[in-house]
Amino acid sequence: MEYPVKTETENKAEDISGFITALVIAISNYSLYSKEHESFGEFAGRCFSALQTIMQEKVEIMIFENELIVNRVPVRNGGLHINNLIARMRKKGVLRVEILQGVSHHEMTSFIMDMAQTGQKLKGYPNIMSGSVDFLVSSAPPEGYESNSVPAFVEEGVEKVRSAFGSGSVFRQVDIKGLEDVVMGFISVFRREASILKYLSPVKSFSEYTYTHATNVSLLSVLQAESLGIGQEFLYEIGLAALLHDAGKLFVPKEILEKQGKLESHEFEEIKKHPLYGARYLAKITSLPHIVPVIAFEHHIKYDGTGYPSPGRNDKKQHVYSQIVAIADFFDALRSRRPYRESMEIEEIFVLMKKCSGTDFNPFLIDNFINLIHSSLNK
């Protein structure tokens, strides 16, 4: 069965892909270099020329579900650049952009520069219209969520995480939608409440640990991120990544994970593989932001580059989001009761954290975290 439309359609699709590629590279080049850099002018120019080739009355760019629709055609074969543009539009709170026929080169260039700025909304342009949709704010609260029952919601979050991961089956795809609801719920909690400790969910049974821990780590990570002034558009990504940071444990035998006594060295070696397993698994889920597998991979790498997996794997340090999650992970792990030890008191954990500040953890983030918990305790 052949598609009679291929040639014309293919050409059109290629033109659209070319436009998107030039647009994204121009945005990246502005972000990496500057307006004056030769490459920015070149790609902004290419973008403008490519725009002319696909221009009808106007060029419509729209995000529909997780797809990019350009001039009413879904662009599916664009790979990274498509995902990149979708992510950038979402971060700008924009779901649709319309570029009118009369758009000038200067206007387009300004728009590209505007898109490259993080944490700022798009400006208005005479010939470029953008639809502003605040995803986080406009999102309806998750089903069954009542504004006065936050702890209940967090408990529900644990349930959702459990169900999202499936019943421990590694063959089941993580239900991202369920996790999105959990993160959205956390973010809305922070908008109304300052004292966060009371929302941490206690571990009720050993088998429940993975899910409760994931939920708590997410909550504590979003809390830290918000206190650092990290833009709302990134909170969702951090929260989601934190929820999934231990996804690799799904691939570690249950007997090892839930072993009551001390782990044998080969068992510990297996445990140490979970960041790799997690990253590999999460990297394949295209609907997840790219930071998710990064955090799953890096959350046991220390601030000074040691830790696991394989220190010195790349000449690059742990991403700051991974540093945030690592702190939350450490705190919640020690605060929780485990088969092989009792939970620790908060101040005891802080002593340990301070001891490891600068080696295992980012010192600035540790100070920030301790301050946050202290102020939460005082409320």
Partner: protein
């Protein structure tokens, strides 16, 4: 009867079975040939269940919302992986709903599945419909997503429900789509309180710096032609007073800055206001600690006509009473500069200074800035790429399924293209490295080969090389490493880019890259030198000169007599480098050329290559009587060449120049003499001494 059937509700269990079987047969269509028994059995099974459903209804419609199937308005189990798989497959074809009608055959089902198997990529719904219609599936119909129904909404959800005049205005203003002149009349209708309430509802990040000023400018109808009134000032005051604290300061500051430039207008506006209102304005300014521009200060001073000396505080003992509060003499004394030190010692002041310098906020700002840098998508993409590379390099590589590896390699391929376009060559090198290391694992060799094919494809090489134009010169080492990794594969594409390059700087850079390949580049240059375009020939001969071995260099002979002197001289250089005697005779020919440019270039080359054989020709040139200033100066290259060749036989001739005299072209002759002195000093002095020729010429001609 048929009507009755069409109304019956569907049996959920049966429906589930039908979808499961339908999905199984869909997968089987992709695996087995048309007449394979497994496929036939599978289609038959799905068909049978549908027949049972058709007993209940004439048609079964499955609607799709992303990865969820909806039947009769109810969502089927969202978590069921089969439903999700089937829904996703339909969704990827832009299908919003599919309807199966009674009378559907197994063959139709087969064709429907075939339709679903096709990778349609980027195709509009209209095109998909066309393809679907061409299948002539009478009993299966699809409804495709109509993207034209979506329109742009510039307002947020709340505003869309019932936008007020105020919201319309402010949104327009914040987005910069409204100009102050157009909207002034509209804005004037908004009460100060209403406007303040609106702004109080906005998050600080929603209000850009410039918005404060534009709101004020619009609100007071301030234009270059029009003066503002006291009434408008009062409105602004009311608006500001109703704002929440942090906005109050921002708007007040903007108001003051906006209005302070309008000295006369402002004075008149203040005159319109009552004294209480002016005092209130000043109070507000004090409360908010807003810095008052000098211009406004002057206006206010004039306006208030306040005589500082007339101010008298009520004294009580040695203290002062102000607003019924008694300030003790120590406090009033503290305010007196001379007594300051009795309260604050020098060491204490030092401590305060040090504390001020050690600005905690500042160090936090640095951390926060670093954090904000890492939130950039480019940073995250690099981290993602590093993570994928680490997975591929890790100990678990052996256990990764080929399918997973393929996915990860595909991700790296896409990233590499992006990194190339943005000059992130370090990342590209890492990706190329990992390709090399994982290829040892036989299990995934096929995937790696497939990716290698991409990385060596003209498509990728073009992206990479064209990015060298912009980023190459600032990342020379990384670019060199990339070229090293690609080896000779890179030469031809680089030469192609060189051919079209218009910038001389970039041409030089590309040439430097090409010449880094050594003999491989020379080999390719010999192929390309056949090109008819002179500049290509010249560049190729240059590459040949830089990289060629003796045999390769000698092949340049055929280009020595090229009509373009740049090509010809480049060819001669090659021969001279190869010590080919033909090069000398060609050089001599060029030195005798009537074309001054050719001649001068040839002389320079003779010097550079120290061609002793042409010394008599050079001496002959020097002996020739100069009739003009230019002719004197034209001898300079010959003098230089003789210096470089260093043949002592030229010394006498050079010395004779020093003795020459001219009446008309003294300046030119002096230039020539100066060159001779330099040459003698740099190239002949030692030799001349050895030969005992130093004699008197050194002192005579002032050569030290």
């Amino acid at each position: 009867m048929a009507e009755e059937k069409s109304c019956l509700s569907l049996d959920t269990k049966l429906l589930s079975e039908a979808i499961i079987e339908l999905n199984i047969s869909r997968h089987n269509v992709s695996v087995y040939p048309e007449n394979h028994p497994i496929l036939k059995r599978s289609l038959n099974q799905a068909f049978s269940i549908f027949q049972k459903l058709f007993e209940l209804r004439d048609e079964v419609m499955l609607a799709v919302a992303k990865d969820v199937i909806v039947v009769d308005g109810s969502t089927l189990d969202k978590k069921n992986p089969v439903f999700r798989d089937f829904a996703s497959c339909l969704g990827k074809k832009n299908i919003a709903a599919v309807t199966f009608y009674r009378g559907m055959t197994e063959v139709e089902m087969f064709y429907f599945h075939q339709f679903l198997q096709k990778d349609i990529g980027n195709v509009s719904s209209e095109c998909i419909q066309e393809v679907f219609d061409s299948q002539k599936l009478k009993h299966i119909k699809v409804s495709l997503i109509d993207y034209s129904v979506f329109t742009l909404s510039e307002k947020d959800t709340e505003a869309m429900e019932g936008p007020s005049l105020c919201e319309l205005y402010v949104h327009g203003l914040l987005e910069g789509r409204l100009s102050a002149e157009d909207t002034s009349s509209m804005v004037q209708k908004i009460s100060p309180r209403e406007l303040a309430v609106f702004f109080n509802g906005l998050a600080p990040e929603e209000i850009a710096e410039e918005n404060y000023t534009s709101v004020i400018t619009t609100y007071v109808r301030k234009t270059s032609e029009r003066r503002f009134s006291g009434a408008e000032m009062k409105k602004i005051m009311k608006f500001i007073n109703n704002l929440r604290p942090e906005l109050k300061q921002q708007f007040l500051s903007s108001t003051i800055n906006t209005l302070s430039g309008e000295g006369d207008s402002l004075r008149e506006a203040l005159c319109d206001m009552g004294a209480d209102e002016v005092v209130e304005l000043l109070k507000l300014i004090n409360e908010q600690m807003v810095k008052i521009p000098e211009a406004l200060k002057n206006v206010l001073q004039k306006f208030s006509q306040l005589n500082n000396s007339a101010y008298e505080a009520v004294s009580y003992g040695n203290g002062i009473i102000e607003d019924d509060i008694l300030f003790a003499p120590e406090i009033t004394g503290l305010l007196n500069n001379t007594d300051f030190k009795s309260f604050v010692s020098d060491s204490y002041q030092d401590e305060i200074q040090r504390l001020l310098q050690q600005d905690v906020k500042d160090s936090n700002t640095q951390w926060l800035r670093a954090i904000s840098l890492e939130t950039a998508p480019e940073f995250i993409e690099r981290a993602y790429s590093d993570t994928v590379i680490s997975i591929l390099r890790s100990e678990i590589t052996g256990s990764i399924e080929a399918e997973d590896t393929e996915f990860l390699l595909q991700a790296l391929k896409e990233q590499a293209a992006h990194f190339a376009g943005t000059g992130q060559y370090g990342q590209i090198l890492k990706i190329l490295d990992v390709m090399g290391s994982v290829s040892e694992d036989l299990k995934i060799q096929a995937s790696v080969e497939m990716s290698d094919e991409y990385f060596y494809s003209p498509e990728f090489l073009n992206i990479l090389i064209s990015s060298f134009r912009f980023f190459g010169r600032t990342s020379r080492e990384e670019v060199r490493l990339i070229c090293e990794r690609y080896g000779d594969n890179m030469i031809k594409p680089l030469m192609d880019v060189l051919a079209d390059e218009t910038s001389q700087t970039i041409r030089r850079f590309i040439l430097s890259l090409i010449t880094g390949f050594g003999e491989g580049a020379a080999h390719e240059a010999l192929e390309k030198v056949r090109d008819e375009r002179w500049f290509i020939k010249r560049n190729m001969l240059f590459i040949l000169f830089e990289c060629g071995n003796t045999d390769q260099l000698k092949k340049a002979f055929s280009h020595c007599s090229h009509e373009n002197p740049k090509v010809a001289i480049e060819a001669v250089r090659c021969l001279l480098k190869a010590k080919d005697q033909r090069g000398i005779s060609e050089l001599r020919k060029q030195m005798r050329s009537s074309d001054r440019e050719v001649c001068m270039k040839a002389i320079t080359v003779a010097g550079t290559f120290q061609v002793r054989e042409v010394v008599p020709d050079l001496i002959h040139m020097l002996r020739k009587k100069a009739l003009t200033g230019d002719e004197y100066e034209d001898k300079i290259p010959a003098v230089r060449a003789l210096g470089l060749i260093g043949d002592p036989g030229a010394i006498d001739e050079l010395m004779s120049i020093l003795g020459e005299k001219t009446f008309f072209y003294r300046a030119s002759l002096d230039k020539l003499k100066s060159e001779v002195r330099t040459i003698m000093k740099n190239h002949f002095q030692e030799r001349a001494t050895v030969q005992g020729k130093r004699r008197d010429w050194a002192s005579r001609w002032n050569i030290r």
